[in-house]
């Protein structure tokens, strides 16, 4: 399971946060932009009218018999891709990661952000021909918020009581919250909160509102989807059929792209992307800074209990060298903070420099000169093993010995993960509020750095309660400053998401949220 490093799409709530609550303390009623208005097909030739028809073959990394059609339990990336094709969410991310309406038309809250009303788009059709109603949305949200259903989206909705999700009228849903949440649309834009039809118990014959309908599914082999003519968007989808093929061997998948047994592949391997000729039949799609590469220090485990040691470790990482060696032109350095294109990213904090001498003196002051540490690593994600190796080399400059504690790739996120003093991770783009709830709040399920700080929790909880965008930004910046000064993350770089495609494929997009434009094939056509 080396492929899926993370489980949540993310993005930034640029539109939602600014526009949604622009009206401030009055009953906030914000209409956010629509995904269609913002999408930019990047592989379409100008002025060409899209051609209808054809079958697009996408090759992706499969998960064998464990693959599923259930939108409630998506772990393999190939399952996530299928879900994006078949289903939709109330809110989603645009190509830049901003939160936009998908099935919602409008969201508003009371002044304390404890009651939210979500109006649905009228006239949305399910694949079976029926119309989307508030009952469907209530059913889906309750299904996910009910613990016993084991839905992967449960972590996003665990704070909502199923009974507090109600239907107001055929197209309006009301959600009551025990704790105020000014960013509810951002939380439920997560890629695990999909809308299914009221009463759905089995997901074997998918009935969604997405641009393609279900035709067939063979776990670990292939699945086929056909154009949904009732899709509400003008023009697309153009393809007659979309075929998603599972591969278990990466070399075979590359060979298949090279010989055009498949037309498109997600996650094109970086080492090969660096040398791919720019003029050939196979081209690359690039989503800049889509993937965050991290190392984490547990702040409650030696030697990292002393903040001077944490600072020293951050200073002795030569980020530019890591990026140059591992990512080449497909990445940039990081500043120990998540998600630089979030509007509330603390851009005013200075870029941390490479300074082994300063690191040395900090370690001396902490009495930890020539300290020995092992880093937990595996070939479990982009640049992981490589960066651990380079970091161990760089650490010598500061007199620190870093040894590699290497485990098999499919075992990385099991027993030792979340328990080691120094480890590595990777996260795809998601809003700061979601990222913090995932890894940095005291209750975070993936608290890699063991960061349990009441002052930090206060700042983030206050931010989540604050409807005023300006005040809220200040709170987010304060929280990030705390992390920059004392946190346990070494966020050394951001990697582009890269996909490969044949030049005959047009209308593919790139999105920071996920590969292949977050699997949006609505505007894709073949020449």
């Amino acid at each position: 399971m080396a492929e899926v490093l993370d489980n949540h799409v993310g993005g930034v709530g640029r539109l939602s946060r600014r526009d949604l609550l622009r009206v401030g303390a009055a009953v906030a009623a914000g209409v956010v932009g629509t995904a269609e208005g913002l999408s930019v097909p990047v592989t379409a030739r100008a002025q060409e009218t899209p051609k209808r028809g054809g079958r697009l073959r996408v090759g992706s990394r499969g998960g064998g018999a464990a693959e599923t059609l259930s939108p409630m339990r998506n772990v393999n990336e190939i399952d996530i891709m299928r879900t994006h094709v078949l289903y939709e969410r109330l809110f989603a991310y645009d190509l830049n990661g901003a939160v936009v309406n998908q099935l919602a038309a409008e969201a508003s809250s009371n002044p304390t952000a404890t009651v939210w009303r979500i109006k649905l788009l009228p006239g949305v059709e399910w694949h079976d021909g029926s119309r989307l109603t508030a009952d469907d949305v209530v059913y889906s949200l309750r299904y996910i918020a009910t613990k016993e259903n084991n839905a992967t989206g449960y972590t996003e909705l665990s704070y909502i009581k199923p009974a507090d999700i109600r239907r107001l009228d055929p197209l309006t849903v009301e959600i009551g919250l025990d704790q105020p949440n000014a960013l509810l649309p951002t939380s439920i834009a997560a890629r695990t909160i999909w809308m299914v039809k009221d009463g759905t118990k089995s997901f074997d014959r998918p009935n969604g509102t997405g641009p393609f309908k279900f035709e067939s599914f063979n776990a670990g082999e292939r699945s086929v989807f056909t154009r949904f003519d009732g899709y509400r968007k003008h023009g697309g989808p153009y393809l007659d059929a979309l075929e998603i093929i599972s591969f278990s061997n990466e070399t075979a998948r590359l060979n298949a792209l090279q010989t055009n047994e498949i037309d498109v592949m997600d996650e094109y391997p970086l080492p090969l992307a660096k040398t791919l000729p720019a003029t050939g039949q196979i081209r690359l799609l690039r989503a800049p800074r889509a993937f965050t590469l991290t190392m984490y220090m547990a702040v409650d485990l030696p030697p990292f209990t002393d903040n001077r040691v944490r600072q020293a470790f951050r200073l002795m990482a030569n980020r530019q060298q890591m990026v140059n060696t591992i990512l080449g032109q497909f990445g940039v350095i990081g500043n120990d903070l998540f998600w630089p294109t979030d509007p509330d990213y603390a851009s005013q904090l200075p870029q941390r420099a490479y300074d082994p001498d300063h690191a040395k003196s900090l370690l001396r002051a902490a009495g930890k000169e020539n300290v020995n540490v092992s880093i937990y690593t595996a070939d479990a994600g982009p640049g992981m093993l490589e960066s651990a190796t380079i970091f161990a080399e760089q650490a010598k400059q500061a007199g620190v010995t870093v040894t590699l504690n290497k485990v098999p790739g499919d075992q990385y996120y099991t027993a030792q993960y979340l328990k080691v003093a120094l480890g590595q991770g990777g996260w795809s783009a998601r809003p700061l509020t979601t990222q913090f709830a995932q890894v940095l709040n005291t209750t975070a399920p993936y608290n890699e750095t063991h960061w349990r700080r009441p002052d930090f929790d206060n700042l983030t909880n206050q931010a989540r309660r604050t409807l005023d965008a300006k005040k809220r930004r200040q709170l987010w910046v304060d929280a990030q400053t705390l992390l920059w000064n004392e946190g346990g993350y070494i966020i050394w770089g951001f990697q582009d998401n890269v996909d490969g495609y044949w030049t005959k494929v047009h209308g593919l997009k790139t999105s920071v949220a996920r590969w292949l434009g977050a699997y949006d094939f609505t505007d894709v056509y073949l020449s």
């Binding site: 339990r73 613990k147 067939s216 776990a219 061997n249 075979a252």
Partner: protein, 318 residues
Amino acid sequence: MSPLLREIVLRLGAGVFTLVAASALIYLGVSALPGDAATAALGKDATPDLVAGLRKQFGLDRPVLERYGGWLSGFLRGNLGYSLPTGVPVTNVIRDKVWNTVVLAGVTMALLVPLAIVLGAVSALRPDGTVDQSTAALTLTLIATPQFVIGAILAVVFAVWLKWLPAVSLIDPSRPLISRPSILVLPVLTLLASALAQSVRMIRATMIEVLELPYIEAARLNGIAEWRLLLRHALPNIVAPAIQVLAYNVPWLLGGVVIVESVFEYRGVGLTLITAVQSRDLPTVEALAMLTTVAIVATSLCADMTVILLNPRLRRRA
């Protein structure tokens, strides 16, 4: 009870014992691997809550011996159980895959037998002659090259460069396998390359031994033509060893299938086994392992019986 029948019963008993022992070893072995079906199914989503819920749903909260006992009693009653991550009956998961592998292995065997005998016999005719030397060079190279390397080279040459054959052997489940025979060519060639090399070497050695026996010498002195000598007098005497050699190839072939299916994405038993181990899907792993064990025990039994029946001396004693 005739001695032959007794031999069969004994061998069958040993086969059943092997089967049970193998099933226990595999069950405990896979259980001992770090991670289980619940953590594998959840990946990085594995929060303690979700893992506990899923473990309960999969029945993984019971002790491993109890689970093995449950599986074994089901297996003995002909129930292969349910695939862990999905709950689909294992029979449904593996049915098509078994057929795909039978086709792959069958085509390989059908080419292997005549080719091995012809090449082995021709090489033995003039040991160290040109034919023998070049066959030896080729077969020794192939034996020394790992299968996945042979597969990768064949894919690059015939698919990527020459574009004669597909680089991956994807099977469309909605169409019969035979409708696209071209996808079989590279996997079969890869399997054949190493299997053939081994068999040719062994048949050549046996043939040389036979050709040096006194009765061949006598026949040659009587002026019998060399080709007639080979076909009529020597060949019948290598049938028994040849059957042993080819039977010996079956377990080897089944092992090679795992590698070849992975290299070419051929959806058969081997590829299914790999993903089943990855997802800690014990019922599927067990079913495939039992199937493979049965195939190996059965072929070796059949081969031995055929050898006994073909040899008049052994037959009489039996």
